[in-house]
């Protein structure tokens, strides 16, 4: 059982006041806060071990390399993946998805091929595919959403066919909270001979994830959304897949032999990590993974699901408030998007901020979904392990205030 009161002691940033009220941070889907264990890991790295990795013989270089590579192993373990070499570190989910679209896509997707996405994708899982389509002449097909905010699986099934080369779907919507049946969709993709890419930016931080059980081909996520530092993303690929791919970025550390006209590549995963990596932050990400593993992702999920249920209950009693997304908390992650007409989401966020409550307002990098919902923007509260019922009540109180202003 997670005790947010205990956990909060590890998060120095939460001790502050905002606009004269204790900070209530409910913008976790954008980025989470970092426990002191992660901050200390950064400090420790820079104060004891910092050096460039992989090519050094001196003590610091060896130490830094070991620490960096150890996190590859931890990341694999976190995903229940068997091979650390199948983990490539990127800057963020966005870069991971671009890597797939370029390094796998450019070689495997051709004119007339189809790429299946959904209307609830984050721009980071749309634009790289649009760019690929533009480069290759492939076509994008979008699966729609049911009135309850779930992915329309029948439509997905209908869209996947012999011309489908890749299906790329978010594991959990960053707006609706919807958890998608990616294993099932992956099975459809496999039967059509297509690859399955899972955008795990919102799932890895909040659900137990077993990439091998999911049966996907690529899985991408960001450290900064799961207690880790900014600047680290992860791309996992199914065993053997990275080996078949040409590199993406070229430069130091990803080569075996460089000649004037051509080069040969280092082994996977180094082939995909050109230049000096974000060493310190990868090392500190290890501390974030430890923190989550110590809590247990099952416990994290249980805590956030309970909080989501409580939030939905509290918010449903606020006059004029309508929520987007699935009705049952067990079918969604800890994200609640809502509208309170005539108050505009930006006004709601500003008033909430006046209460010290940090929520997000806008299109959440999901303009296709906004258009589908028929809104320009939504307000969104999203939860993490340090949030508790008091936070939800502070939000509800702020929203009552919105009603007093706009009512």
């Amino acid at each position: 059982m997670i005790d947010p009161r205990e956990i909060r002691k590890d998060f120095p940033i939460l001790e502050q006041q905002v606009n004269g009220r204790p900070l209530v941070y409910l913008d976790n889907a954008a980025t989470t806060q970092k426990p002191r264990q992660v901050i200390e890991a950064l400090v420790r790295y820079y104060e004891t071990s910092n050096a460039n990795i992989h090519r050094g013989i001196h003590t610091l270089a060896v130490r830094a390399t070991e620490q960096y590579e150890a996190v590859r192993g931890k990341t694999a373990a976190f995903l229940s993946a068997s091979h650390p070499e199948d983990i490539v570190f990127t800057r963020n989910t966005t870069e991971a998805l671009n890597l797939v679209a370029r390094a796998w896509g450019d070689a495997n997707v051709h004119e007339g091929d189809e790429i299946v996405l959904t209307l609830m994708e984050h721009h980071s899982n749309i634009v790289p595919w649009q760019q690929l389509a533009q480069r290759t002449g492939a076509l994008l097909r979008y699966a729609g959403i049911t009135p309850e905010g779930k992915l329309d699986l029948d439509e997905v099934r209908g869209l996947i066919g012999p011309r489908t080369k890749v299906v790329s779907v978010t594991h959990m919507s960053n707006v609706l909270g919807t958890i998608n049946a990616v294993a099932e969709i992956g099975e459809m993709a496999r039967q059509a001979g297509a690859l399955m890419v899972v955008d795990g930016a919102q799932s890895a931080p909040h659900l137990p994830v077993d990439v091998e059980a999911l049966g996907c081909d690529f899985f991408a996520f960001s450290a900064h959304k799961m207690l880790g530092p900014t600047g680290v993303g992860v791309l996992w690929a199914r065993r053997g897949l990275f080996e078949t791919m040409e590199p993406f970025l070229g430069g130091g550390d990803m080569i075996a032999l460089v000649r004037q006209d051509e080069s040969t590549w280092a082994d996977v995963p180094h082939k995909f990590e050109a230049g000096t990596p974000n060493i310190a932050d990868v090392v500190a990400f290890g501390a974030a993974l430890d923190y989550l593993q110590d809590l247990g992702m099952g416990a994290v999920r249980a805590h956030e699901m309970a909080l989501t249920a409580y939030a939905m209950e509290q918010l449903s009693s606020i006059e004029g408030l309508t929520m987007h997304g699935p009705e049952r908390a067990d079918e969604r992650g800890g994200v609640v998007s809502f509208a309170m007409n005539p108050a505009h989401p930006h006004d709601i966020a500003t008033i909430a901020d006046g209460h010290g409550v940090a929520i997000r307002a806008g299109h959440h990098c999901a303009q296709l979904l906004m258009r589908h919902l028929g809104v320009a923007a939504t307000s969104r509260a999203s939860f993490s392990i340090y949030n508790d019922k008091d936070d939800i009540e502070a939000l509800a109180e702020a929203l009552e205030h919105v009603n007093r202003v706009f009512g």
């Binding site: 606009n19 004269g20 005539p342 500003t350 008033i351 901020d353 307002a361 320009a376 205030h401 202003v405």
Partner: protein, 148 residues
């Protein structure tokens, strides 16, 4: 709750909410001399202005668009304040509103209802909302003067 209502109440003054709820001069003009628009890409707010300018005067002005109470009320107040004004006066008002929003300058009575936006200056992230229609107006006035 014993704690006072938070400080942002001076942002959402009644006059702003009134313009938001009951927009003035909303819609298109039949024969605008200038039709200009602006979008705030970060938040998606949108303002369109129709201007009918002649004899160095804003004979008529209307707006439409969507967005938050600040961006929409600012546009509504703009139209109300500037309809019938000389371009010279419009530019003076625009200068004063911008100075209030950007530099935190004290407003004076010449800008009328727009003084209600004073509280926005304290919130850098919302200043753009209030400014949006004024940037659009600026472009419209420039078009009008170069066309003339």
């Amino acid at each position: 709750m014993a704690v006072a209502e938070p400080q942002f109440d001076d942002l959402y003054r009644e006059i702003i909410l009134d313009h938001y709820r009951r927009p003035r001069n909303r819609g298109e003009l039949a024969t605008p001399s200038q039709r200009v628009e602006g979008v705030n890409p970060v938040c998606g707010d949108e303002i369109h202005l129709d201007l009918e300018i002649g004899d160095d005067t804003i004979r008529d002005v209307s707006y439409w668009g969507h967005g938050c109470s600040i961006s929409q009320s600012s546009a509504s107040m703009l139209t109300e304040r500037l309809k019938g004004c000389s371009i010279e006066e419009a530019e003076r008002v625009m200068g004063k509103v911008r100075a209030m929003l950007i530099d935190g300058a004290a407003p004076d009575d010449e800008i009328g209802d727009l003084q209600a936006l004073e509280g926005v200056a304290r919130l850098p992230v919302r200043v753009k909302c209030a400014l949006l229609c004024w940037n659009v107006l600026k472009e419209g006035l420039q078009q009008a003067t170069t066309a003339a």
